[in-house]
Amino acid sequence: MKAYNNLRNSGVTRRVVMAAAIGAALLLGAGTTQAQDKSIVTLVVPFGAGGGVDTVMRAVADRLTPVLGKTVLVENRPGGSTILAYDHVARSPADGTVFMIGTPSMSTNQAFKPGTGPGDPRKLLAPVAPIAEQPYMLIAGPALPAEVKDVASLLKWAKDNPDTLDMVNSGPLTAPRLAAELLAFRTETPIVTISYQSGTAGVLDVAGGRVHAGFTQIIEAMPQVTAGNLRPLAVSSLKRSPVFPDLPTVSETVPDFDVTSWNGMFAPAETPKAVIDEMNAAVNKVLQDESLKEMFRSQGTVFVGGSPEDLGNKLDSEIKRWEDLQSKVKLEID
């Protein structure tokens, strides 16, 4: 809350100016004219304004501006499971004026729907820096008996009651769906995945006892976890979450299981190495900011940072993992 108090003292006029500026930028869609101006960097976010990723990236962009000495503007290009933003950035000038935030959709789109969008992101984009990671929370609801309290007991229950376990997710080609499919494949457990238009709709069905479990965003599950309607079984990241140190990981039962909601910065493929290195250094500096960490702590967001290669490897290994899964389980996509 301290951050807000400091900001609150900054005066009404600044607030209004800021709002007007943000509003104007949104309305006009920023874009074309700004790409010419080298003192402005556009950071394309593949979701609408006000969402989870957008809020994090606006906070990052605010802090990048003084470090880079250039104005970093967030531009929202939602739609098409992030493909619209990707398509736009892939065709933008590779001169260090346009960057984008990549998400797990980048790997799932490529692995499951290689035909849509401009093509392989490993060829059309250059990785700049990993930014944030959020584990998904594996939640269980009242449809499961009380003895299911961790991953092992969930899998045992599913084997004792074959073809019963249902798991919610936030969409057919989202990481939460694929996390459940991966869990089913790796542990040879029959799981029926049930997709929703949004994560919270799925949480409601688990809390209401209609679906047994599911991988969800921490922020979506927390209200019902606090209320006692849901119990968290595990987090989906390789390491435990610093926010929930007592909550085990799925990988403690299923070795190397690691599916997270990650965000990394990418640039058009031909962007010069010097530009990428400069941005990478700035991002890594910004991610040390304690106020940033504090602001998103309750959502389970961990600011990771790292080299361009770290992000490139992450994307590559994810695409390969999902391609491998698809070649073995053959999810029905059309």
């Binding site: 809350m1 807000y4 900001l7 609150r8 607030r15 800021m18 709002a19 943000i22 949104l26 309305l27 869609g29 609408g48 304004a49 006000g50 969402g51 989870g52 809020t55 929202n76 290009r77 939602p78 739609g79 098409g80 499971s81 493909i83 619209l84 398509d87 499951f112 729907k113 849509t116 969008g117 249902d166 969409g171 057919p172 080609l173 029926v192 049930i194 997709s195 929703y196 238009q197 949004s198 919270t200 709709a201 949480v203 409601l204 069905d205 809390a207 209401g208 209609r210 679906v211 922020i219 927390m222 209200p223 019902q224 606090t226 209320a227 309607n229 602001m295 309750s298 996509i333 059309d334």
Partner: protein, 504 residues
């Protein structure tokens, strides 16, 4: 009593100068945003979200909420005057509101809408105050099976929405469903009707569809008229603006029915104000003595849906605040605002943050009263919009439409969609196809599919799930009774007509 002290606490919070100011700011912004075609609460709230980081969470929420319910007031203004749905939930107000305006009764329609909106909102707020935790539990009990049953009841109840040729009505429902199915399949991720256009993967927006079929089609149609009828100055006298005793008599029951339907629908996280207003319209038409008046300026068809969507706007806060489960994208943003301030919504919110909860609820009263004060005297100003010559008015409307739909996803593609739907709407109009069933199919069709398939997935293909679950079983029974009674009354009428020889 406990509730009295809570109300006191809430009023003290809501009437604090800073909160009152933000509340006023919110409702004024809401009205304006609602009135501008296409620009809805979602765009406005997402733009203003960053400012709210710098004020107290209660104040922030009061303003964002003001925008949310303020749009419902503003949205009906554009629908009634210009046949342009200012916001999604106001699309229904076009059906009878615009014909009323064409008959010179725009003032009556606007004034009655304001009254209906206030009554609807009030009922929603009372429910929110008295039963929020209880209602939230009911919402938790609604799954896909129940939603499917409810939608089916809605569809059956709404079969009367179109009149004239049943075949044309059916064709239009199908067209609406087809338009609604555009986009990624919820279960497999397969693209449907997208023609490999990535923009289509997210489907067609209701705002774009409704604005094209109603507003743009209207503008195209006006171009063809070589002489535009001179507006009769006589018909703009103040006397014609004031609702007659007959208007009140016709309106009060529909307002109450609309408020009840809206209050209920709003509490279900899987629905929203748009569906609430549709169901209210369908119900009104069904219970009306003379359903043929609908679509031609029946006041019941304006007040009931408007009462309904305002009630739903208020009760939509119940699942958001007390379950932490937002019913719509806009509510999700409001939830995000809370979470960013470190407040976790949920059943414990009312007890842990009484100042926030009650302050917000009481600010709803304040906001709605402000809206009435703002809107009622403005009616005279709004209807003057109609006196602007079409050659100035229509081009400016087109500009607003383009800006409005662009903000839906910041994509020019949306603008093209509106133009296409405008042309389609114009053609349908020439061919005498009814437009209302398109919206019905568009809203209910895809939801029914989604819930039906999900219910089937969960029950492993056992259709009995719909009958076995108590809520859905009951709703389906009501649906069946409704079908039987409709069929029976149709049969009776048919018989009577045969017994009485047709007059020469």
């Amino acid at each position: 009593m406990d509730i009295l002290s809570n109300i006191g606490l809430g009023l003290a919070t809501a009437l604090a100068p800073v909160n009152l100011t933000y509340c006023l700011l919110g409702v004024v912004l809401g009205t304006v945003v609602g009135m501008l075609p296409g620009l809805g609460a979602l765009a406005a709230i997402s733009m203003l979200l960053p400012i709210t980081f710098h004020v107290e969470p209660t104040t922030a929420l009061i303003m964002l909420a003001g925008i949310w319910y303020g749009t419902a007031y503003g949205g009906s203004i554009a629908s009634i005057l210009l046949n342009l749905p200012g916001s999604t939930s106001s699309a229904v107000a076009c059906l009878d509101g615009y014909p009323m305006a064409q008959q010179g009764r725009a003032g009556v329609a606007l004034l009655m809408t304001t009254v209906a909106s206030f009554i609807g909102a009030s009922m929603g707020i009372v429910l929110l105050m008295l039963f929020a935790p209880l209602i939230a539990q009911i919402g938790l009990g609604f799954g896909s099976t129940e939603y499917f049953a409810l939608m089916l009841l809605g569809l059956v109840a709404a079969t009367s929405v179109s009149d004239g040729s049943a075949l044309k009505g059916l064709a239009m429902v199908t067209f609406g469903i087809a338009a609604g199915l555009v986009g990624m399949d919820v279960y497999t991720g397969a693209d449907r009707y997208t023609f490999n256009v990535p923009e289509m993967a997210d489907g067609v927006s209701l705002v774009g569809l409704a604005m094209g079929l109603f507003g743009v089609a209207e503008i195209i149609a006006s171009v063809r008229q070589t002489t535009i009828a001179e507006i009769d100055r006589e018909s703009w006298s103040l006397r014609k603006m004031i609702p007659t005793r007959d208007d009140w008599r016709r309106s009060w029951l529909p307002i109450l029915r609309g408020s009840s339907i809206g209050s209920f629908i709003g509490t279900l996280p899987g629905t929203g104000p748009a569906i609430a207003s549709f169901l209210a319209y369908a119900v009104e038409k069904r219970v009306a003595k003379d359903p043929s008046r609908f679509g031609k300026g029946a006041i019941e068809g304006v007040v009931s849906p408007e009462a309904s969507n305002n009630a739903a706007d208020q009760t939509a806060f119940i699942p958001t605040l007390s379950l932490g489960i937002p019913g719509s994208a806009t509510m999700a943003l409001i939830l995000a605002a809370l979470l960013l301030h470190g407040i976790t919504p949920g059943p414990q919110l009312m007890t842990q943050e009484p100042e926030l909860f009650w302050g917000l609820v009481m600010s709803f009263w304040v906001g709605n009263i402000l809206l009435v004060i703002l809107n009622a005297p403005m009616v005279g100003v709004w209807i003057r919009i109609l006196l602007i010559p079409y050659r100035f008015l229509y081009p400016s409307i087109l500009v607003f439409i383009c800006i409005g739909v662009y903000t839906v996803s910041y994509n020019v593609f949306e603008v093209w969609l509106v133009i296409i739907f405008g042309v389609v709407g114009y053609l349908l109009r020439i061919l005498n196809f009814p437009i209302a069933p398109v919206l019905l199919g568009f809203v209910l069709g895809p939801l029914m599919e989604e819930h039906f398939r999900r219910a089937m997935l969960i029950s492993r293909g056992d259709l009995m799930t719909f009958v076995e679950r108590p809520i859905s079983g009951t709703v389906l029974l009501i649906t069946a009774l409704l079908l039987v009674s409709t069929a029976a009354s149709a049969l009776l009428r048919h018989r009577r007509q045969r017994l009485v020889p047709a007059p020469e």
